[in-house]
């Protein structure tokens, strides 16, 4: 399958510090990839570079084969959506108005929203299961509900690539499963989904492929089970990982221990 988003030896600096030292990997159409790695591995930096918010000082990030920085801003935002964890939207904004801002790349600063935009907004609310919250102000929501509103904004952009930085961070286990189900539906619709996931168990259960980032380098990549049980994962997280197959369970469970 064709890769829609690709990093080729991307070197990314934040200030004077080099955070990513030549990262290469590809995200293909309709694929679900979990990006995992220890704290400060450079996961958020990579996601921002993939989204075109940070420019690589060497190497390249290609969106549909073209450097992401060379894309027209609106066209890029119609193709790729980023849902980041820092919720900074005005507290008095309603969920529906927040989601409607996802139509900005389609309508620009001046053109009024059309029936097509309204349909996209309502579809995004429905797919994230929050139509009943549409008229509520963000400040009246739980952190998890705000996360869903942010995701709905990303879906309203109708992107072909969806990047998420820790989408499950504020969610309880039920809402986490719900969230990954939403991502699966998007993926089934042909959207390539890349999510930074902290919970390795969840990541393994959801993702078709896992990418391990350690100290600014991709050190392992492939099926989640292989990545999690690799020596690279043990080194990256500083733990030993054991996989357990349980009868009646579709995927394996993992236990983590500090090295003795």
């Amino acid at each position: 399958m064709k890769s829609v988003l690709e990093a080729k030896g991307a070197v990314v600096r934040r200030g004077a510090r080099e955070v990513l030292h030549g990262v290469s990997f590809a995200l293909r159409e309709g694929e679900a990839v979990a990006l995992v790695g220890p704290n400060a591995a450079g996961k958020s930096t990579l996601v921002r570079a993939l989204a075109g918010l940070l420019r690589p000082s060497a190497g390249a990030v290609l969106l549909e084969g073209r450097p992401v920085a060379a894309w027209d801003r609106d066209a890029r935002a119609r193709t790729l959506a980023l849902v980041a964890p820092d919720e900074e939207a005005p507290p008095a904004l309603t969920v529906e108005d927040r989601v409607a801002l996802g139509r900005y790349p389609h309508r620009g600063p001046f053109r009024p929203l059309t029936a097509e935009d309204d349909a996209a907004i309502q579809a995004a609310l429905t797919r994230t299961g929050i139509p009943h919250l549409a008229r509520r102000a963000l400040e009246t929501l739980s952190a998890g509900e705000r996360q869903l509103a942010a995701l709905a904004r990303g879906l309203a952009q109708q992107p072909r690539v969806l990047l998420l930085d820790e989408p499950g961070a504020h969610l309880d286990v039920g809402h986490q499963l719900g969230l990954f189900r939403i991502l699966d539906q998007a993926r089934a619709g042909g959207v390539a989904v890349l999510a930074v996931v902290h919970d390795l168990q969840q990541a393994a259960a959801w993702a078709g492929r896992m990418v391990l980032l350690d100290e600014g380098r991709v050190t392992a990549e492939g099926p989640p089970d292989g990545v999690l049980t690799s020596a690279e994962a043990a080194r990256a997280f500083g733990v030993s990982v054991r996989a357990h197959a349980l009868p009646g369970l579709a995927h394996r469970l993992y236990s983590f221990e500090e090295p003795s």
Partner: protein, 340 residues
């Protein structure tokens, strides 16, 4: 009540309040004019029959002194409130207003400099010098903040603070070095007020205020996107830096124009958006026009109070808006702390 109804009701009430307050402020004053005659005199200019003629003296007071002053009050209030609302979205901080950009302190320095140079009595010298001072301060803030690359919001804020402090220091030094009889002219300006403002002031200030406010309203959607934070705005395709700079530049023009004709009129840019946000919501296309109307009503009434509360003298307009604004803010703060 649905939000749409609440918003419509708010706009209807604000518009009505503006019409009524402009009417009352035109009729009331040291020489009070009968309200029906004021209406009639306004109507005549619109081609309506003169049902209750004013005396020639009344006509003169209404058309040469009172009306330009009242309309200028409305524009100054409206402009400051729109700028406050816009800057609060740009800085994503409900306490942001034009003072952050150095507008007020720059204007004050310009005005004091003009007085020190002996131009205090020259027609329009004060507003022109104040406007130049405001723009110089804003440009200094931009230039200094950009000296080390693209500034963060934080960098802009701190630079604004530093430039304001410098301009304030310059103002004090100049004031001390200025002859006492001249100081009084500029003190009135520093305290804010609209005494003796003419149609010329209205035309000069109004052009910038109305044009700039309309431009800010036209940029309401980019403003909303920007209020989501720089990262999300950039991810949505907004050219964050250019948009922010454009909004700040237009805001500075409007606030500079308002300050140059009226002196310092504090709290309007904070109170009007803050009070109206719960009624019309935070979206620019609703909040900016509502803030304009609310700010206009506030300053028209404050100016009415400034010239009618005391029979002997005009009270400083800036002091009156602060007398209303500061307690309002303390109450709002207590309410929000109590909720948290």
């Amino acid at each position: 009540m649905t939000e749409t109804r609440r918003r419509r009701l708010s706009f209807a009430s604000l518009s009505a309040a503006l019409v009524v307050s402009v009417g009352v402020a035109s009729a009331a004053g040291s020489v009070s004019l009968p309200a029906p005659s004021v209406l009639s005199s306004l109507g005549v200019r619109l081609g309506l029959p003169d049902f209750s003629p004013l005396s020639p003296a009344g006509e003169a007071i209404l058309w040469t002194a009172r009306l330009p002053r009242v309309l200028l009050a409305a524009l100054v209030g409206g402009g400051l409130a729109v700028v406050g609302a816009a800057l609060q979205s740009v800085f994503r901080n409900p306490m942001a207003d034009s003072g952050l950009l150095g507008v007020g302190s720059g204007a004050a320095l310009g005005a004091v400099l003009a007085v020190k140079l002996g131009w205090g009595q020259t027609f329009l010298a004060l507003p022109v010098a104040a406007f130049a001072g405001a723009m110089a301060a804003v440009l200094a803030v931009y230039a200094l903040a950009h000296a080390a690359g693209r500034p963060s919001l934080h960098g802009l804020l701190l630079t604004g603070l530093a430039v304001s402090a410098l301009a304030g220091a310059g103002t004090s030094v100049l004031l001390v070095a200025t002859e006492e009889y001249r100081v009084k002219t500029v003190l009135f300006w520093l305290a804010g007020g609209l005494e003796g403002r003419s149609w010329t002031h209205l035309q000069l200030g109004g052009a910038f205020i109305v044009g700039g406010s309309a431009l800010l309203l036209a940029l309401a959607r980019p403003l909303d996107v920007l209020s989501l934070g720089a990262d999300e705005a950039a991810a949505l395709g907004l050219p964050v830096h250019v948009t922010r700079l454009g909004l700040l530049a237009v805001s500075s023009l409007v606030a500079g124009a308002a300050t140059s004709v009226a002196g310092s009129v504090p709290f309007v840019g904070l109170v009007a958006p803050h009070a109206l946000r719960p009624l019309v919501g935070p979206l620019g296309r609703h909040l900016l026009p509502a803030a304009f109307l609310g700010g206009a009503v506030l300053v028209v009434l404050a100016d009415l109070a400034a010239r009618t509360l005391s029979a002997q003298l005009d009270l400083p307009l800036g002091a009156l808006t602060a007398f209303v604004g500061a307690p309002y803010f303390l109450l709002a703060l207590r309410a929000s702390e109590g909720r948290a």
